[in-house]
């Protein structure tokens, strides 16, 4: 069994800590069990199950740290892993940025585990796939999809009294449904903590509709267009922006959040970063919240420090930037760990409402192969995929050929026309967004 209860995890880690002779010791215990099914060409292609349980011991003498790991849990193995981490610590060079472990912490309650997800069987997976394959066949379409569930736990303990434990479940489903002649393609994705919420037939019906409606796409000229980005289309760009929010990179001059000196400004008196600056439209509110009811995250990060709701952008203003304990101490600011999810506020409008209120625009199902072009302006490139449609006078008029875009999320979040009701995507909550002047740079023949 690779999923331990809180009591069993605690008892095991206490035993490990007692074996330590180091100044500081921290142990991470991670277990997982999961299964998946993959189908293509309307039939199952691969499927499997896997599980693992791993103990990581990190020992520190002064500022010298060593790490060793094991997946055997008898007394001799536990002694061996502690000794090995201590030997490595003594051999390691001093880390000038080492920071001591945290003491005992208090955590918010967790709502990340659902028994429904933990009890999925191979037959359930096969049936869920069939609910997607059967209607595709009926519509003379070809389905390729993937369903995967995972049950995980993480426990952390150190010799300064910190103990953290969390168990979580996650299920991911996605399907691409194409016409037999390859001229149409639709896609949908779903991600939940609770398997009960997943309806693969209902989700697949959206991909079927998009597939049928995307045949014989017309070519529009590349240029700037008003777009409605579904949550799956904007999550990649937003995620890249949030990952680049770190204080250190900004302070060191290598981030889009680095402060730009004005002409004649004295560098020694100027701020290093753009904290407090209004960089986005005032409707933009982005934060992390471990207790979000639909997209919860573990109540602590990888170092056992508690997570709480943290605003990153409030009314368009950069209000917090994540840092490390070392950088926080060096720059004399509070430690600000990064969050476990991205929650962006939206409105009450549905996607359909947003289409209705659009005179001319483009509906984008998803963006694909997003790559950085310029880290200073956060300029990214990538392509639309699996359902791109032209909107006129509040209605979807016809499918259009896919575009390559060259655009920055900074520009995007300054050009907001409307925000819809947020949906869970990849563990985050993202609203559909109507954006003006989104830059498409070339056409693609890909379907």
């Amino acid at each position: 069994m690779t999923i331990l209860s809180e009591a069993n995890a605690k008892a095991l880690l206490e035993k490990v800590i007692k074996l330590s002779k180091a100044d500081q010791v921290e142990c991470n215990l991670d277990g997982n069990i999961g299964g998946n099914i993959r189908y293509a060409r309307n039939t199952v292609s691969t499927a499997g199950e896997e599980s693992d349980l791993v103990l990581v011991v990190q020992s520190t003498f002064g500022k010298r740290t060593g790490t060793a790991t094991i997946n055997e849990f008898d007394d001799a193995s536990l002694a061996k892993v502690v000794e090995r981490s201590e030997e490595l610590a003594k051999l390691a060079p001093e880390n000038e940025e080492y920071m001591p472990n945290f003491g005992p912490q208090k955590y918010l309650p967790s709502n990340t585990y659902f028994e429904s997800t933990a009890s999925i069987s191979p037959e359930d997976r096969a049936q869920a796939a069939e609910y997607s394959i059967a209607p595709s066949k009926k519509n003379k379409l070809v389905a390729a999809g993937f369903l995967e569930e995972q049950v995980r736990f993480r426990a952390i303990m150190n010799n300064k009294g910190l103990f953290a434990y969390n168990k979580d479940t996650n299920v991911d489903f996605s399907v691409t449904i194409r016409t037999e002649d390859g001229k149409g393609s639709g896609w949908v994705t779903r991600n939940y903590s609770d398997y009960k919420l997943l309806d693969t037939a209902k989700a697949s019906s959206i991909a079927i509709m998009k597939s049928k409606n995307s045949v014989d796409a017309k070519a529009l000229e590349p240029g700037k267009y008003t777009v409605i980005l579904e949550p799956a289309a904007s999550v990649g760009l937003l995620g890249n922006m949030v990952r680049n929010f770190g204080q250190r990179g900004a302070d060191e001059g290598r981030s889009f959040l680095s402060y730009k000196l004005k002409e004649g400004e004295d560098a020694s008196k100027a701020p290093k970063n753009r904290l407090g600056e209004k960089m986005f439209d005032e409707v933009v509110n982005i934060y992390s919240d471990p207790q979000h009811p639909i997209a919860p995250a573990a109540p602590f990060g990888g170092n056992g420090y508690p997570r709480k709701r943290t605003d990153w952008i409030k009314n368009g203003v950069v209000v917090n930037m994540p840092n490390s304990p070392y950088w926080a101490k060096k720059t004399e600011v509070p430690y600000m760990p990064s969050g476990g999810n991205i929650i962006m506020d939206g409105g009450d409008q549905s996607l359909e409402d947003m289409i209705k209120s659009t005179r001319r625009g483009i509906l984008v199902t998803r963006l694909w192969y997003i790559r950085s072009l310029d880290p200073q302006s956060l300029l990214y490139t990538g392509l639309t995929r699996d359902g791109t449609f032209y909107i006129e006078d509040g209605k979807i008029k016809y499918p259009i050929k896919n575009f390559r875009f060259n655009e920055s999320p900074i520009v995007m979040l300054n050009n907001i026309e409307a925000l819809g009701k947020p949906e869970r995507i990849d563990g985050n909550m993202i609203p559909p967004m109507k954006i003006r002047d989104f830059t498409f740079s070339s056409l693609s023949d890909a379907v």
């Binding site: 921290e26 099914i37 993959r38 293509a40 060409r41 309307n42 039939t43 199952v44 691969t46 499927a47 499997g48 896997e50 693992d52 990581v56 990190q58 740290t65 790490t67 060793a68 790991t69 997946n71 490595l88 390691a92 880390n95 920071m99 472990n101 191979p122 997976r125 096969a126 070809v142 390729a144 993937f146 995967e148 691409t176 194409r178 390859g182 393609s185 896609w187 290598r254 889009f256 680095s258 990888g302 170092n303 790559r371 072009l373 310029d374 880290p375 200073q376 302006s377 956060l378 300029l379 490139t381 392509l383 995929r385 390559r404 920055s408 740079s441 070339s442 693609s444 023949d445 890909a446």
Partner: protein, 542 residues
Amino acid sequence: MERRDFIKLGGAGMGALLMPVSGMAVSLDQLLDKPMDVAYKKKLADIALNAAKAAGATYADARIGRYLNQFVRTSETRVDNIVNTESAGIGIRVIANGTWGFASTSNMTPDSIAQTAQRAVAVAKANSKFQTSPVKLAPVKGVGDVKWQTPITKNAFEVPIKDKVDLLLSVNDAAMANGANFISSTLFLVNEQKYFASTDGSYIDQDVHRLWAPFTATAVGPDGFKQRTGLGNPVGMGYEYLDGLEKDKIKITGANVGYNNSYDMLEDAAAAGKQLKAKLKAKSVEPGKYDLVLDPAHLMLTIHESVGHPLELDRVLGYEANYAGTSFATLDKWKSGKFQYGSDIVNLFADKTQPYSLGNVAYDDEGVKTKEWDLVKDGILVNYQATRDQVHMIDQNESHGCSYSQSWRDVQFQRMSNVSLKPNPKDISAEDVIKDVEKGIYIAGRGSFSIDQQRYNFQFGGQLFYEIKDGKIVDQIEDVAYQSNTQEFWNSCTQMAGKSDYRVGGSFFDGKGQPSQVSAVSHGCPTTRFNNINVINTARNV
């Protein structure tokens, strides 16, 4: 697609460090443990095969793997981390009722192995309920007991940690002494000890080694910052790759030094520092049409994305439709025998026997002997890359040997072979290729790259860009990316250098599949010219 699988390793001090691994951290002495006895592995594999057959499998294979990794990462003057990982276990794949099933375990007791085999059969049977086309395997003759090892001369795992740390810190010093403000440098070492057995009667023991030593240097100027990554290649070699032998250097006047099968990382870091200073002052490219001269450390990735991926048969057939995508290189184009993939001087081939390459093995992960074969001959599309259960769909009865799994834990499936561009039969140099270009850009190193899901439209950047005027490299320029369509691009290929300029580069973390798996693959090519390509300017004020 090029992607990294990241997992978080370790506790407080390591919390912020993300490393692409598929194992667990172990101490150094474990990395030098002798591999498990082959006779014992054979015994365990037979337990798996027999249990699978007894449960109703018509075919089974077992892969007993011990995967060792070492990562040493430094920034400026400090060592960020030294991580040793090991992952060992068995993956069992079966066919029952004409359907694939797979299960894996790290618990290698005979009972656990037998139960895992039974689980794999149970998964196959559960899925067979909805199976419409039974799996059809191309024949493979059992080879009995065989062994193979990557031809290394210095086992990187035996080099003391201190030497590795000293090298990386010297590299950082060299970059910073010459103009960089920041630098991160890393050593990735991989050793796959793989034992494969199948009901066909093969027992194949392979010891595979790979190494990569990348760095990213950054310089901050008054108007922003610039980055330059290393020009070394990931390779199927030992620590000898870092010897920096002069014979493996190819110098391009006015531009960079290219590296073949030996890398001078210190020299490259010092050059990066100087080139960063130039980048901060370099003029921004004027968008328009240019003749491009692409150096091998850049072109390898263009080959990877625009030839390697679209010619994977699983993509062509639709097995990757939900993730990486399908392919423009459809079966009808191949069947016509006339599809002009490139100009008639373009010859692209697949070859997992290429020495020093990342994909080099004697047998793939389903026991097929590796080989060389043509993909594009004299510009015409002639073949794909396929596995045992796919080749019958292109009317062939011999697998190409393209099956790979990133670990014992994951199921093997079709992965890209090494795919390479043949050099010019006339052995001309890179500078010979440049000298005939009137208005062009020479691009070195891999930068931003993005391509659509059928591999038509792509946009690639690089690390170093130099304007070519009247056959000579003149100024270093910035903000360059080229946009093209795969078929147009390869048909605009007008010249390439010869075998003396041929170099093998690669991708250490190529991602594909669901659940996603990484694989390492190389691409050889000489410096090559492409005429009249659309170049855009990537600078933007926000």
